[in-house]
């Protein structure tokens, strides 16, 4: 039964309300093969795999295991058929050790630590993992947590492994280590699926690539017989230039200078450690780093939303005196005449009001301006209409709740509003996360346009390729420290990757 697929999906359709997340998709997974499931964000990759993991049920179509029709109604069923999925957001218990997490939920009649450890060790030796079974999850790095997740499904006897965006939070070095492990597993005759939208990883790792576009199955190709350009065309439907236009603004002036800024969270853990840098009007300063290295705290402390324990944040306006923003609330910063625009990472939870329409969300910047106790809706209404047309936001009306818009449109509303406030500093955190390629480029262009207008742009990103093409300089954060600032025109990915880990940081210091 060599030709038989380990798992086969036949004509799978899944709808969420009006939205068709997967339309009539048929894909087969073979043993001893790494399959990449490629597609832009929102193309339905995760939804499709969640049906194998027992999280969703298909509305139509069939799943076959070794040629037998099966129905996966729960994650438990999924395990029974030897399917293990490693989700993008890890599902581990923080206060448990690696070993405790691995056996969690298994009904083996009591916990035998010694036996568990032996079995975990066996799995580690077999595939090249490196983990201490007694280490608590809260002490682990992201990469270690991922390792625990993978061992967890192997321990349960998974023959089919699905990894959702496994490299999103890893450094380039950690990524290489993971790839080596995945190759070992393939050689051990396991069927492996990685969900990704990164072309270079697809080309490097997988044997076959299945491409989804907007919920539809486009086709499967052998990796050896394809190119990055061909895959991009399949993914987006038409050829897209992969270059981001990067003009140089000659008139750069100092705009925002942070000196020795240190922040603590409410548990007194240092989140920013002695951060010093300057961002100029007329440049895009990229901020790179592994997720959770202080990016959020950095932007929020500038915006007056995060308490700064030590140091100064000096704002030099195009005309006028230098002001120190430390200790000011967002309202005070605004009143001091500092035009600060902020596109936060959590769009609906921080930047927008999900239950309101575009107009209500425009008011978020201008709600104080109305006459007496009443709000002014006219100005925001006009602004909403302008953004609706100018940025081609897809929505039935300016009163339609933004929560129900697609991710790209939500982001257009947010970025549009922030840019409309005529900022002199524009901060954005992961502004293209979850957006399709066209919208992403629209956002890049808006950022560049602002830069050419003399705005100081701070761009926190996760895709190093984009940072290297878009920014003028890149600041790398590691554990709340600035581990280096590099020229984006000359730096390489490896260089930034090294700075993202503490090793690189120490070398720089």
């Amino acid at each position: 039964m060599d030709s038989c697929y380990a798992i086969e999906l036949r004509n799978i359709t899944k709808r969420f309300g009006e939205v068709v997340a997967n339309r009539d998709i048929s894909i087969g997974l073979k043993r001893g093969q790494i399959l990449s499931l490629l597609g832009e964000n929102g193309s339905g990759k995760t939804t499709l795999m969640n049906m194998l993991a027992g999280i969703y049920l298909p509305d139509e179509g069939q799943i076959l295991a070794d040629g037998e029709p099966i129905s996966i109604r729960s994650p438990k069923d999924s395990f029974r058929y030897g399917i293990g999925m490693i989700h993008q957001h890890y599902k581990l218990v923080d206060v448990f050790t690696a070993a405790q997490n691995i056996v969690l939920g298994l009904n083996e009649g009591g916990l035998n630590i010694k036996e568990t450890n032996t079995r975990v060790q066996e799995i580690c030796d077999r595939y090249g993992f490196d983990i201490d079974p007694a280490k608590k999850v809260y002490d682990m790095s992201v990469s270690e947590k991922q390792t625990v997740e993978i061992i967890k499904v192997l321990y349960r006897g998974a023959e089919i492994l699905i990894l959702d965006e496994p490299t999103a939070v890893l450094t380039p070095q950690e990524t290489q280590k993971l790839f080596a492990i995945l190759r070992n597993m393939r050689d051990d005759n396991k069927a492996i699926v990685i969900i990704t939208h990164k072309l270079n990883e697809v080309l490097e790792l997988s044997d076959e690539v299945a491409v989804l576009r907007k919920g539809t199955y486009i086709g499967t190709v052998k990796t050896a017989e394809t190119t990055a350009q061909a895959l991009t065309d399949m993914m987006v439907g038409h050829a897209v230039a992969l270059n981001i236009d990067r003009p140089f603004n000659q008139n750069q002036t100092e705009r925002l200078t942070l000196k020795n800024v240190t922040c603590y969270d409410h548990e007194q853990v240092k989140k920013l450690d002695n951060v010093t840098f300057t961002v100029n009007g007329g440049e895009i300063l990229g901020v790179a780093g592994i997720a959770g290295s202080g990016q959020k705290e950095l932007l929020e402390s500038i915006a007056g939303l995060y308490p700064v324990a030590e140091g100064s944040i000096e704002y030099t306006p195009p005309e006028g005196d230098v002001k120190n923003l430390v200790g000011m609330s967002p309202t005070q910063i605004h009143k001091a005449g500092v035009a600060l625009a902020f596109v936060p990472e959590d769009r609906l939870g921080m930047g927008l009001v999900g239950s309101m329409g575009m107009t209500g969300n425009m008011m978020l910047r201008s709600w104080k301006n109305g006459f007496g106790p009443f709000v002014d809706r006219k100005g925001p209404q006009e602004l909403a209409n302008f953004i609706w047309n100018d940025l081609e936001v897809v929505t039935p009306s300016t009163e339609f709740p933004v929560r129900r818009m697609s991710g790209g449109n939500v982001q257009k509303v947010l970025v549009g509003r922030e840019i409309a406030s005529h900022p002199s500093v524009l901060m954005s955190a992961y502004p293209v996360r979850g957006l399709d390629i066209n919208t992403s480029y629209a956002i890049y262009n808006l950022m560049t346009e602002q830069k050419m207008n003399g705005v100081a742009v701070l761009f926190v990103g996760e895709d190093l390729d984009v940072l290297l093409e878009l920014c003028d300089r890149i600041l790398v954060l590691c554990g709340g420290k600035v581990s280096g600032i590099v020229d984006a025109r000359t730096a390489t990915k490896d260089q930034i990757g090294l700075l993202m880990t503490s090793v690189g940081g120490k070398e720089e210091a």
Partner: protein, 363 residues
């Protein structure tokens, strides 16, 4: 694979915004279902459901006296639902309306005892109303202050505040302020709300409050702040709003309106103060507020409906000689169905289609 697993018989899927007319259709259907279930209960007691429902309607609206009593019952329900609406919009779970009503009535009574006979009736009533608003407002402000300062749980806090103030009034009632055998004296005529169309003028006050609250929530800066906080506190902070201050301000307003309701009940309906002045209104009004989707104008209809039920079912036991609990069961069924139907407005059920099943077997 020994036994084949099948898709479950019923699955749930979230609806993506049902159109309003369909939503109201479901709500109406839920009332019909409740009436049908209620008929079963009445049948079990050996009575004719049609006759029973007739008695309910008749008992609440059959004569002018009945109508007046029903409206009297609806006034505090409506006033209190309006009071808690901004809190609920803000997702601040104020279940202390009961205590805020009592605190308002207490403050009004206190002022009445100080000023009665010394000033004209209008001045006295205005002073009592103002005192009630401040008293109720402070009672609402305290839990909001603790929530803003130390992030205490407002649900427990507001609930506990009820028992404190009710205890205080019980003590005054049998202690310092007692008139005869644990009762307080009736209010002086000057301290009673005048009647308009034979009902105390509290109905005018609450109708004014309805309009005020509608405008406040929809067109004021405060209303906007409340909506933003209710959606996401982080967004509110991002927009430069002082979340703690807004919470305290809103709770003061909510408590103040509850306090005015307390004043209306004590001065207009009961003409005295007792520990039972709130009489569960603070809790029932939560139902009114939710059923109305926090819309003040819809609250008028819902509070009237509940008042009709309350008044009407109470005549059931006298006319049909059924136990009093039967009326409670009918009200309970209605509320259960009406609140429960929101589930069907937000979710739809998908039944396993026979088509899929056959396809599975054919393979």
């Amino acid at each position: 694979m020994g036994e084949k697993t099948k898709t479950p018989l019923i699955r749930l899927a979230k609806r993506d915004g049902l159109n309003p007319s369909a939503a109201w259709g479901i709500r109406l259907a839920s009332i019909l279902v409740a009436l049908l279930l209620g008929s079963l209960v009445i049948l079990i007691t050996g009575n004719n459901p049609f006759e029973a429902y007739g008695i309910i309607v008749n008992g609440a609206l059959g004569s002018e006296v009945f109508v007046r009593q029903t409206i009297k019952n609806a006034i505090p329900l409506l006033g209190c639902a309006i009071a808690i609406a901004p809190c609920f919009k803000m997702r601040f779970w104020n279940i202390g309306a009961e205590g805020q009503i009592t605190a308002g009535a207490l403050a009004a009574t206190f002022i009445m005892r100080q000023m009665v006979g010394k000033v004209p009736s209008v001045v006295l009533l205005l002073a009592m109303g103002l005192a009630a608003a401040i008293g109720g407002g402070i009672w609402g402000l305290i839990p909001a202050f603790f929530k803003a300062k130390w992030n205490t749980n407002e649900t427990l806090f507001t609930l506990m505040m009820n028992y404190i103030i009710i205890g205080v009034v019980s003590w005054l009632q049998i202690g310092p302020w007692t008139a005869n055998q644990g009762r307080m004296a009736q209010f002086d005529e000057a301290a009673c709300l005048p009647k308009v169309m034979n009902i105390h003028c509290g109905w005018i006050i609450v109708l004014v409050l309805v309009v005020f609250m509608f405008i406040y929530m929809k067109y004021s800066k405060h209303g906007y702040e409340i909506s933003v906080i209710g959606d996401s506190e982080n967004t509110a902070r991002y927009a430069g709003m002082n979340v703690g201050y807004i919470m305290m301000r809103t709770m003061f307003l909510s408590g103040a309106i509850c306090g005015i309701v307390g004043f209306i009940v004590a001065s207009g309906a009961n003409n005295t103060l007792s520990a039972e002045v709130a009489n569960g209104v603070g809790f029932t009004s939560i139902t009114v507020a939710w059923l109305s989707q926090l819309n003040p104008f819809v609250m008028i209809a819902i509070s009237m409906m509940l008042a009709v039920l309350e008044k009407g079912t109470s005549s059931l036991n006298t006319w049909l000689a059924v136990p009093a609990s039967v009326s409670d069961i009918i009200i309970g069924l209605l509320l259960f169905c009406m609140l429960g139907c929101e589930f069907f407005i937000n979710y739809k059920l998908i039944f396993r289609s026979s088509h899929n099943g056959k396809e599975g077997e054919a393979k």
